[in-house]
């Protein structure tokens, strides 16, 4: 096989290539922010030598809204509607982490039923997000059909969310003290129907995408995250599990009702884009299974919200904590500091994309073909809004 002559590539100094754009050897292109191949509103500043990427710099900030500042001037309950906006495709994890941190700091125990409902909501969120991801991954490599199917089925999940929470995208469901509403009557049957549909669709996806010569050709060997990079880059979630590392917050530090569910780590070994895709596919199926388990194990009735202090005057004693959950990309957490007033002193949302989208992506992009940038980008599953918040 042809291997390019590395000597023509720029020297690396401090891990960065030295590039003289005026030499005419290099082309600089921007992937994004206006670019259909990019995940969300972000940009990659890519320097090419021919078709190969010699440097990629991630630019974020297009979605910066200053959440952490805004939360400093909002009361605890007022923070609740805004936190979910931090990561658009997975709002539930923000809600959960915020509520969990707040409940911990104000010593609130939430009822059993609320914990089940939260588990269900979080797992359904993962399912929805994974569906979107599978579609995106296929789409980024030109298989639009899978994208269409997956997003459609994700929309059926959005219908479930709408029924359950009253909102399609921003559910604003897990508020401090529990959840906002019980499951509507007949929800379980409808949910199972949706799950059956998704499973049927995923079966087709398995045949079409995962047993696909071109897909394998494109993704196998792409963006390999080596074992030692896991610690060094702080890689979490499926990206780490695709490398055979057993890490999952749901199992390591079980929250809500995950300790009562039956599931295991989903791992792969190759650690390339294909392995990650397989991992996520398996996790999608696992999510469906977990959703079913939750619905089956959940008690029929029960209080879904415990009394909190009057939200208009809710003050929390000084303290700090870090609440985390396993979102589709790995460890998602809220670090909250309170100072006895009715507003949080500092809230920090820790999203896995902070490391994945920037230092990891910049590293993985080097020496890949520019055509693979979109696929690589999607394969490490980044959401820019959780980087800049």
């Amino acid at each position: 096989m042809f291997t390019p002559d590395r000597s023509k590539y720029p020297k690396h100094v401090n891990g960065r290539p030295e590039i003289d754009l005026s030499s005419g050897k290099y082309t600089k292109v921007w992937h994004g922010p206006q670019h259909p191949g990019i995940t969300g509103n972000m940009a990659l500043e890519i320097t090419l030598c021919g078709d190969e990427v010699v440097e990629s710099i991630t630019h974020v900030g297009y979605l910066h809204r200053g959440f952490e500042k805004l939360m400093e001037r909002r009361t605890f309950i007022q923070c609740f509607p805004i936190v979910c906006r931090i990561a658009v495709p997975e709002p539930a994890f923000n809600e959960y982490c915020f509520s969990a941190a707040l409940e911990e700091l104000s010593d609130i125990e939430i009822p059993e039923q609320a914990q089940w409902l939260r588990t269900f909501n979080l797992e359904l969120m993962r399912l929805s997000s994974f569906l979107m991801w599978i579609g995106g991954m296929a789409g980024a490599l030109g298989q639009g059909t899978i994208g269409q199917w997956c997003v459609t089925h994700r929309d059926y999940v959005a219908d479930l969310f709408e029924e359950m929470t009253g909102g399609r995208i921003y559910h604003m469901y897990m508020l401090p003290g529990g959840v906002r509403a019980p499951l509507p009557p007949g929800f379980k049957e409808r949910a199972f129907k949706v799950f059956d549909g998704i499973e049927k669709m995923l079966d087709a996806v398995d045949k079409v995408l995962y047993n696909n010569y071109v897909f394998k050709q494109r993704t196998q060997g792409l963006g390999i995250i080596t074992r030692d990079m896991i610690e060094r880059y702080g890689v979490v979630g499926p990206n780490a599990r695709a490398c055979g590392v057993k890490r999952d917050v749901r199992l390591d530090e079980p929250y809500v009702k995950y300790d009562e569910l039956d599931f295991d780590y989903v791992t792969a070994n190759a650690s390339d884009a294909y392995a990650r895709a397989v991992c996520r596919f398996e996790e999608t199926l696992q999510s469906i299974d977990l959703c079913r388990q939750v619905l089956n194990k959940m008690p029929k009735d029960g209080p879904f919200h415990t009394k909190t202090p009057n939200v208009m005057n809710w003050k929390v004693a000084p303290g700090e904590t870090y609440a985390k959950a396993e979102c589709t990309r790995g460890e998602y957490g809220f670090y909250m500091v309170t100072d006895g007033s009715d507003k949080p002193r500092r809230v920090h949302a820790r999203g896995p994309s902070m490391t994945h989208a920037i230092c990891l992506m910049e590293q993985l992009a080097i020496n890949t073909n520019v055509s693979d940038i979109a696929g690589l980008m999607v394969s490490i599953h980044t959401y820019p809004p959780e980087v800049e918040r």
Binding site: G61, K324, E388
Partner: protein, 189 residues
């Protein structure tokens, strides 16, 4: 137990066990690097979850929190370190973990902390390239005021405070409560 061991080498103060698997403590600025290296290399705290800075304006310090995680024991350490607010400088740890550089860029941008030697420190991470205000996460920066002065609002909003409105409507002549004065002009909002 491990903390006891650490205490022999480091000045560990303000230990607080927040929950079963999360402990916070403070070390002086100078010992931070050794602390991180010790925890990472000798105690398996290999995962850096995040670095966050808190503006403790009343104490005149920035409180940096480094959250380390041990995958073997599933325990986290939140390590605090106070640095002077006026002369906000901190050692750069970008050589320990790759993502540290990004966090340090963010801290530089949001709080104005300088990390000598950190790569690409001067590049804005989230803010617009032309941002000319103070570092926005500082407590003395008022985002609402900035927004009001900078961006266009849609006019035509009027708001009435129910208690003021009821006073005007129902008992305009009653001697006005002096509590406004007592509360330093604080009303409902």
């Amino acid at each position: 137990m491990m903390l006891e061991k650490l205490k022999q080498t480091f000045t560990v103060t303000e230990v607080k066990e927040q929950k079963k698997n999360l402990t916070f403590f403070t070390v002086p600025k100078e010992q931070m690097e050794m602390m991180l290296i010790t925890l990472r290399d000798h105690h398996d705290y290999k995962h850096l979850s995040f670095i966050v800075g808190i503006d403790m304006i009343e104490d005149g310090v920035f409180k940096l929190t480094y959250m380390l995680y041990n995958y073997e024991t599933n325990h986290s350490f939140g390590i605090h370190c106070n640095i002077d607010r006026e002369k906000a400088e901190m050692d750069s740890f970008h050589h320990l973990w790759e993502q540290v550089g990004t966090y340090q860029r963010e801290l530089r941008e949001m709080l104005g902390i300088n990390f000598e030697g950190s790569p690409r420190l001067e590049e804005n991470l989230s803010l617009d390239e032309g941002w000319d205000g103070p570092p926005p996460m500082r407590r003395d920066f008022d985002t609402k005021e900035y927004s009001n002065n900078t961006y266009f609002q849609r006019e035509g909003r009027v708001n009435y405070d129910p208690r003021e409105y009821m006073r005007e409507q129902l008992y305009p002549t009653f001697p006005k409560t002096e509590s406004d004065k007592l509360l330093n002009g604080g009303g409902k909002k």
